[in-house]
Symmetry: C2
Subunit: 543 residues, 2 copies
């Protein structure tokens, strides 16, 4: 496809610094060649080919020291739920025959989040296969006042999918059946435990794509994606799950199955109840099945990696790009020079373009390869000619496209190798997006190793990361609440796509007014009066 | 733009039957030339140029006989709200100085829906200018147990925006200020009473478009659009308001202002409260301001009108179209032969292609005129060559594009001239979409004048209309609950985009299970414990 266009492209577009290929070690090549490289600011792909994380494992590195129990590290008090008894185990065994796990070794992984920052002490994990089983479980737990922690792929970033104390873990792992797929409408209906990557493969074979894609796709469950309102890499093009999820089946706290599993694009009959459960992190109900609209698979995909002289030029490049690439633009990611330096230092991935203060990665996805390449060419000539971009490269094939994506997607991994990482996932107005990074750099001076900014620029989503040799309460005190207050002044979001879970629940107030918080608490009380569903998550601790 | 492509287009594409132009009367030309022609299955544009409806009028035809009072025509009982007293009027005058309307003549229009099927007997209309005034109004009404009917442009199809008894009408007409527009992100923030067409003009001057467009845009308010989760003509391309509305400001029943007016594309801090109010038709709160994401304005728009030999071919044309036009497809509408005959008979609009059992209207919107025309040409060659399409025409300029759109958009008007119209707005699985029309035709035989089907095929949305000489309870009995039961068997929606309002509230159960209905009623009780907000709407009458 690209060859026929070659005469129209500047020579540099196909230039690929030798060091780039040479700098990739055997292991990294395997890793970068995995079907999806690490999530932007998220967990690893954890596909079969990844040497870093085995599927099903919830920890970012094996053999690491034991994670401190959440109840010991954080100031949190157990609520007066019942404790699971032998009678309870027998009753649960009758509800989920063969699906009651109590072996301490098997319970290790699901008690710990993949970042290894929180650790519960659950003694029971349940593996239901049907919504009816989930309903029976919740009915029983509700009656017995037993707390429940729903868990999908356990790939969350904010400790939302692991128990805090001894909550019963209800895993969707065995609820992994595809219910239906309609090859005209593109509507997929499946159980909540289907792994995103497997769904992607399934619909791609039928000429469609999933409307979301993220690094954790090899492990994450679609039910968890919906419960956390996951953003990810296709958000710019296909929008929020609030638009693409057509229906849900949810089990409510007291065991009622709420079937809103419609496959219709339009349905204005009453309140749209499914929206209550999208993004509520399992605190209002347990999602057991999902109906989702899959867009047609684009036949042509291009990836360009460009260097920009300043953040103002990054923004102007974005505007130009949106105007000239229009409907084929599918990703506009940015990263600062520090990010690329860290990826080079820790992962030996060389930057394929001249050193620049900022870099952007642009992806196009369209239905006409020739047309798309022409549009991209016109855009690149424009931004190069006007000085918005000083250097760039274009992937000539899928392998190189993945290598370019790796520069963006492996930043998280590089950061984790740089030391202790303080992580922030923020939404900010585009024109102030990078100011916080500069401010923090000045504020922290030599107290931090690195202060870096990158993220989904097209969505206004900044991943701000600060690295230091080790965790330090004084550095944390310099960062917080400063970062949250800064974001609040810009009316930004203190959690753009990661949710609040356990770790961020107390900063909700920086992005939402007290009236909103009060209504959220009323909704929680209405839907889960005993508070058994994923307690200690999402909403601030009541004082 | 088209001339450079001419050699590649088949000659027929530019053929335009002389009769088509000749058949348009002077009045109709003016009308078709209005900035937006009538809504698909909805109210007229009501722009300044429309001879049919004056802006601000709520009735479809002036000088028509008086509409029967809702309380007389329907079996509905007034709930025990207070009655507005002189003291109340004085208090309201202090809250909204100069904004209390009690003149019976001025109250005539806002008491009647535009279809002239329901009529309330409200004695008071309030015109607040700020959210604070709305808050004070609701706080007062809540304390006094006075019912309230929020009203935007009063262009709804289901009697949702007019009072049923003597509810106080709270109009957003004077809340029409644009708060901000960001020319990089495309985020518009405005008061709820802004007229959609004026917002469209505002953002188009800045290189963006509103993510929704509908026939009523000359009158409808953005707050009403959001409150009813309006669908319309751009749904296929830009998706649901649930994805494009970024934030809302809402006044709750007891007068609290809930400010969730974020301008961020991503915000996962707690439950997404704004979703409660989108589509809840003013029964849970009064929307006072909206933040909405506007997509960039496409630089090239094409419209084609094609004839298909059968509904199977319509569906195959849709699949082919989606594959070959991909990301530039912005509308795929269909209509049956009866629709086009009625438009010809009653409005003298001639069909520009050979008589066919079905017709489709395809619109493309893209960023590259040449590319788009090439894609469209390839698609047209394919569908003509394979026999999916037997004849077609392509608009060569904007005027002709509007004439093609008129054939689709004026169907509602043609139907209303055919007699009494029984209207259904349904979502159905694509492959069964037209079966209901055929079934009904056989079932009704000579009892109906015409049974027609048309709609937003790309969204699975059928507008099913049955005309008869006059209203007949026996014909109604043949139609209902037959139609609703038919739709329920297909797990369709009995209200795709029009909502439930007053007229469809009791058919909710055909599309939602009892558990959903119960939760909706709990939400209503939580948010509006006295039930003062838009009573007798959305939720079924409690028996």
């Amino acid at each position: 496809m690209m060859s026929r266009l070659a005469p129209r492209w500047p020579a540099w577009l196909f230039w690929w610094r030798a060091a780039c290929a040479q700098g990739v070690s055997a292991q990294q090549r395997t890793w970068a060649g995995a079907s999806r490289i690490p999530e932007p600011g998220g967990p690893w792909g954890a596909t079969g080919t990844s040497p870093l994380v085995r599927r099903g494992s919830s920890s970012a590195s094996s053999g690491a020291p034991e994670v401190t129990l959440t109840r010991e590290r954080y100031s949190v008090r157990r609520l007066p739920f019942s404790v699971v008894s032998e009678d309870d185990l027998a009753a649960l065994e009758r509800i989920v025959p063969g699906g009651v796990i109590t072996d301490p070794e098997e319970l290790e992984a699901p008690n710990v989040d993949w970042l290894r920052t929180v650790r519960g002490s659950s003694k029971v994990l349940l593996r239901p296969r049907t919504s009816q089983e989930v309903a029976h479980i919740l009915r029983y737990c509700h009656e017995r006042n037993l707390a429940v922690s729903p868990q999908g792929g356990n790939t969350g970033m904010v400790g939302g999918s692991t128990p805090v104390f001894d909550e019963i873990i209800v895993s969707t792992a065995l609820m992994n059946q595809i219910v239906s797929f309609h090859n005209v409408s593109g509507v997929l209906v499946c159980q909540a435990g289907c792994v995103l990557e497997e769904l992607s493969r399934y619909v791609e074979e039928r000429g469609f794509v999933m409307p979301l894609d993220l690094g954790a796709k090899g492990s994450c469950h679609i039910g968890g994606n919906v419960a956390t309102n996951a953003g990810g890499l296709r958000f710019l093009r296909y929008g929020s799950l609030r638009g693409t999820v057509l229906g849900l089946e949810v089990v409510l706290a007291e065991g009622t199955i709420l079937n809103c599993l419609t496959s219709l694009r339009k349905d204005n009959t009453g309140y749209d109840l499914k929206q209550l459960f999208i993004g509520s992190e399992g605190t209002l109900g347990v999602i057991t099945a999902v109906s989702i609209l899959c867009p047609p698979k684009p036949s042509a995909v291009n990836v360009a990696f460009l260097g920009c002289p300043g953040f103002a030029e990054v923004l102007q490049t974005f505007c130009t790009c949106r105007g000239m690439l229009g409907e084929i633009l599918s990703a506009f990611e940015f990263m600062d020079a520090e990010c690329v330096k860290l990826v080079g230092r820790h992962l030996r991935l060389a930057c394929p373009v001249q050193e620049s203060p900022f870099y952007v990665l642009i992806e196009t996805s369209g239905s006409g390869a020739g047309h798309d390449a022409e549009k991209l060419s016109g855009f690149l000539e424009q931004v190069l000619g006007s000085g918005l971009v000083t250097d760039g490269t274009l992937a000539a094939d899928q392998r190189r496209a993945k290598m370019l994506w790796a520069l963006r997607e492996r930043i998280t991994e590089a950061l984790s190798r740089d030391g202790y990482v303080y992580k922030y996932d923020l939404s900010l107005p585009l024109d102030r997006l990078y100011d916080l990074v500069s401010d923090l750099r000045a504020r922290l001076g030599l107290h931090a190793k690195h202060v870096v900014g990158y993220g989904h620029l097209g969505d206004g989503n900044l991943h701000l990361n600060v690295t230091a040799e080790a965790f330090s309460p004084s550095l944390l005190g310099t960062l917080e609440p400063y970062v949250y207050e800064w974001v609040a002044r810009q009316r930004g979001s203190v959690s753009a796509e990661h949710g609040l879970g356990f770790k961020k629940k107390d900063v909700l107030g920086y992005s939402k007014p007290p009236e909103a918080l009060q209504l959220m608490q009323q909704l929680k009380a209405l839907l889960d009066p005993k508070g058994i569903l994923n307690p200690y998550k999402t909403l601030p601790t009541r004082t």
